[in-house]
């Protein structure tokens, strides 16, 4: 904090003493923001837990309509993207411009794969009339298996959770594209890679949320 | 009686439910007043005694005093424990309905209270009860949240759709007590008033027997009673006055302009639809605020209401 002798590099804003203080501040700020995110999703998890405690049989029944295989594939895809983001940060720390670009690109690609799979899952459910809220209109075959008066609520929660998570994935993709463009211009190096680091933190959180969503929604037998 | 803050509370007409509440109310007020006056007195005394005499005043360095800190943490803490305990026991009493309580069904809806008795008697916005025995109200709502409040009995509970909640009380004198709805429920929330009417036990029995079985008389007379009991008049007048919805006066077989621009003839089917699914065809110039009566009224009753409406011209 008291180190004033170093020159003030260009990427350091005027109100910071040095690069390290700026980096630490950004990282702390991001963690505080992640606290927000956790409690934001926390509300949905809370609704989930309350309703699951009330109607455990509904959750067992309704989870059968969700495709465990594709859910698992999506889990693997997101874990993979977390790994590539971690590798991207490592590349930036080691001044590997090319590695950074490639890892970011793979991450974006995996995030898109996640969304595509999610899209087909939604599409399939909507086709069967398993739609949120007032669009709830299951086909007779589904209604026969899913004969619970509160089935609409399970899928209300399912759609809210996955849609809000999906929205975070989309925001993540946008951030990642922004990083990629900056990386190509050579903005990042071992001295300055703060945006990569904190976007990485965000992306890992998106992965963390999914790590819990997957068993809670798909893996109830 | 004769406590300092008596002027704040309404008359106590149900001592079994109100006494402990009132005692605690007075206790907290009096204890608070003593501490409050102490704090304010100290503050003003210091302000005068230690007013600034010159800009060079030197003040002593007093950083803290653990004894004092503990004293003024622990004493209020103990006091609040006492208050918690008393509040808790009073509340347990409010929750514990005596076994021999007389049960009455109450349904809240926008914006009236419908009261049902065991023998089929029905009233609107009037709860007739005998004095001297515990009364239990089993309450539910047919639309949004309401809250049932009788200040003179110190009882209150929210009324929820798809759930039953209850309050109990035991009035000890005949007369009337005001009922309020205290959970905001829309336009006429403040008109959702009702009364508890306390009778001598024998008078109550007479009243109950006279009203057994609900509406009586010709279909038209029954229709008229139903319009009252279902609370229609909170929004629809029968004399042409505009309240929240269109008046019932002179609508039968006439043309009616709808909010979507179409015109319709007011006939049996339109009235039936408007009772069961009021949002389908809104009359021009009115808001869609009525809650659907689907499930709350049967076809026979609708027919009687229609017969009655035909007669208002």
């Amino acid at each position: 904090m008291a180190n004033h002798s170093a020159t003030h590099p260009k990427h350091v804003h005027h109100h910071f003493v040095d690069s390290n203080q700026q980096f630490e501040s950004a990282k702390l700020g991001m963690w505080v923001f992640l606290v927000n995110e956790i409690l934001f999703f926390g509300g949905l998890f809370c609704a989930y837990i309350v309703f699951r405690a009330w109607y455990p049989e509904l959750f067992t029944q309704a989870a059968l309509e969700l495709n465990t295989f594709w859910g698992a594939v999506n889990t693997v895809v997101l874990i993979g993207s977390s790994l590539t983001v971690a590798m991207a940060i490592r590349s930036a720390q080691n001044n590997q411009k090319r590695g950074l670009e490639i890892n970011l690109l793979i991450t974006i690609l995996l995030a898109c794969v996640f969304l595509v799979i999610k899209y087909f899952e939604y599409e399939h459910k909507l086709h069967l009339g398993i739609a949120p809220g007032s669009f709830w209109n299951p086909t007779p075959e589904i209604a026969a298996v899913l004969d619970h008066p509160k089935a609409n609520i399970f899928f209300g929660i399912y759609y809210m959770m996955t849609a809000v998570h999906g929205l975070h994935v989309i925001i993540g993709i946008a951030l990642m594209i922004w990083l990629y463009l900056r990386a190509r211009k050579g903005h990042f190096n071992s001295e300055y890679y703060t945006p990569v680091e904190i976007t990485g933190l965000y992306w890992h959180l998106v992965d963390l949320i999914w790590i819990f969503l997957f068993p809670l929604l798909y893996l109830i037998e | 009686m004769g406590r300092l803050f008596d002027f704040m509370l309404p008359e106590n007409k149900s001592p079994l439910t109100a006494d402990s509440t009132d005692w605690l109310f007075h206790f907290i007020n009096e204890a608070s007043l003593v501490i409050f006056l102490g704090v304010i007195f100290a503050m003003i005394y210091f302000a005068i005694r230690y007013r600034r005499k010159s800009e060079d005043d030197k003040t002593p360095l007093i950083t803290h005093n653990n004894t004092l800190e503990i004293t003024w943490s622990v004493i209020p803490l103990l006091l609040t424990f006492v208050v918690f305990g008393l509040g808790y026991s009073g509340w347990l009493n409010l929750k514990t309905v005596p076994n021999d309580a007389y049960e009455i069904q109450v349904t809240g809806f926008k914006w009236s209270w419908n009261i049902n008795y065991e023998n089929g008697a029905q009233t609107i916005n009037e709860i007739h009860v005998p004095k001297g025995i515990p009364i239990k109200l089993v309450m539910t709502s047919s639309d949004v949240l309401h809250s049932f409040f009788v200040p003179e009995y110190r009882v209150k509970h929210d009324v929820l759709p798809n759930r039953y909640t209850y309050v109990w009380f035991q009035p000890e004198e005949t007369g009337e007590s005001q009922i309020f709805c205290t959970e905001y429920c829309g336009n006429s929330h403040s008109n959702m008033l009702a009364k508890v009417i306390v009778h001598e036990p024998e008078d109550f029995q007479t009243w109950l027997d006279e009203n057994a079985g609900g509406p009586t008389g010709s279909p038209i007379e029954q229709g008229e009673q139903l319009v009252t009991l279902q609370g229609c008049q909170a929004c629809h007048s029968v004399d042409g006055t505009e309240i929240i919805g269109p008046s019932f006066k002179g609508i039968w077989n006439r043309e009616r302009k709808l909010a979507d621009g179409n015109t319709i003839i007011v006939d049996e089917n339109y009235i039936r639809e408007s009772i069961l699914y009021p949002g389908e065809k809104i009359a021009e110039g009115y808001q869609n605020v009525m809650s659907p009566y689907e499930g709350r009224i049967n076809d026979e009753e609708i027919t009687k209401i229609i017969e009655y409406l035909k007669t208002i011209d």
């Binding site: 630490e24 809370c46 068993p215 037998e221 | 347990l92």
Partner: protein, 104 residues
């Protein structure tokens, strides 16, 4: 230089790949265990135990909490604590609605 910057730990590629593979194995494991059809509540307990392990791996190594200042870990733990608080107090209501007076 790097020793001064305690936030700038560089994880080795080997470490990161190791964590990634561990996460993959745990995913396969949780799907397999779910297929066994353990009796309730053991099914949900194992699923949550595995999910928590995965979350720990991600937070500690991918997010670098293991090398980071303690305060950032405290933030994460604090957020979880408040989440648990929210859920457990809400459950105190929703699970005990049938008791007319508290049955302590």
């Amino acid at each position: 230089m790097m020793s001064e910057h305690h936030g700038h730990h560089i994880a080795s590629a080997k470490q990161l790949w190791g964590i990634g593979i561990a996460l993959l194995i745990l995913t396969v494991l949780t799907v397999t265990v779910a297929g066994l059809g353990l009796p309730s509540p053991f099914d949900i307990l194992t699923a949550m135990a595995i999910a928590l392990t995965k979350a720990f791996l991600v937070a500690a190594f991918f997010m670098g909490l293991y090398w980071d200042t303690k305060f950032n870990s405290m933030l994460l733990i604090g957020a979880l604590a408040f989440f648990i608080l929210m859920v457990s107090i809400t459950l105190l209501d929703t699970l005990y609605r049938d008791d007319i007076v508290p049955s302590f």
